[in-house]
Amino acid sequence: MLNTAQQHALRLLIQEGLPLVSRPYACLAEQIGSDEDSVRAILKDWQESKLIKRFGLVLNHHKLGYVANAMVVWDVPDDAVESIAAKLIGFSGVTLCYQRPRRLPQWRFNLFCMIHGKNRADVLAYIDDIVQQQNLQHIEHKVLFSTFQYKQRGGRYAVASAGAA
């Protein structure tokens, strides 16, 4: 078992990412003065309790050649959001899908998804396929391509006050 100070230290350490050694959990344990089993146990706890959202690697789509980044937004009747979202997430090209509040009169779209592709034509054709296959012609959507990414920093969320992504 890790005490509170060790748990806090562990969170700070893994915010920087997992140490890149063949036994990363042993390496973390050594840095906080604990043992590997305890570190693994608490990481599993944090995963199960959803404190840790994802435990994997994060791609830089742009660098990998997926330079067309589209935020596709839909104006969905509020009571149909879940059923439409269920259709969208069935497509492997849809990488994120969120319901968000409308900001009328400036913004009426309430369902957002992200689609990455190698070029704009591919992404637009992909969205057309989604609309055709799922009969979404009656739902207004807009495709907001990004023209420039100005800032991206890794998710670093201070836990200094037990706070963080």
């Binding site: 990412g17 890149l20 959990y25 435990f55 990414q149 992504a165």
Partner: protein, 147 residues
């Protein structure tokens, strides 16, 4: 890109095992040593193909705030406002997009109240309104972007 790099990316997107030797399985799959897997991940990070390797915390669960916000900035003022917005540590990423609302950024703050405070500061600094669009519901798509 080398086949081992593709296998690493495709297999570890949402599943770094929490075992004593988490790279054993992917090493076998690639037919290389665990040390080589580690070296390849380090190189993918160094060269910018990966932006992160390891666990990501859930902001809300940890007591932080997270939101997506948008602004409508006239072209002649975009550069100034963009620099001002990016100077805030709470701005995690910021994209220019093709719409009347042309600036879209993610805010991550240490506390939930931090979102409203930061938005107020950004509005004061830039002189333009910020439209706050926090998520109401997330529909989980899994991570299966394959190369």
């Amino acid at each position: 890109m080398h086949i081992s790099d593709k296998l690493i990316i495709n297999h570890l997107q949402d599943g770094i095992p929490v075992t004593d030797e988490p790279f054993a399985e992917i090493a076998t799959l690639c037919g290389i040593s665990q040390d080589e897997v580690v070296a390849r991940i380090q190189r993918l990070l160094d060269e910018g193909y990966l932006s992160r390797f390891g666990p990501m915390f859930h902001a809300q669960e940890l007591g932080g705030g997270l939101t997506l916000a948008a602004m409508k900035i006239p072209a002649e003022d975009f550069e100034r406002v963009n620099q001002q917005v990016n100077s805030f540590d709470e701005v995690a990423h910021n994209y220019e997009r093709e719409h009347e609302l042309n600036m879209w950024f993610v805010l991550a703050t240490k506390t939930p109240q931090g979102i409203a405070e930061t938005i107020r500061k950004i509005e004061q600094t830039t002189g333009y309104p910020v439209y706050n669009m926090p998520k109401k519901e997330e529909f989980y798509v899994g991570l299966r972007f394959t190369l």
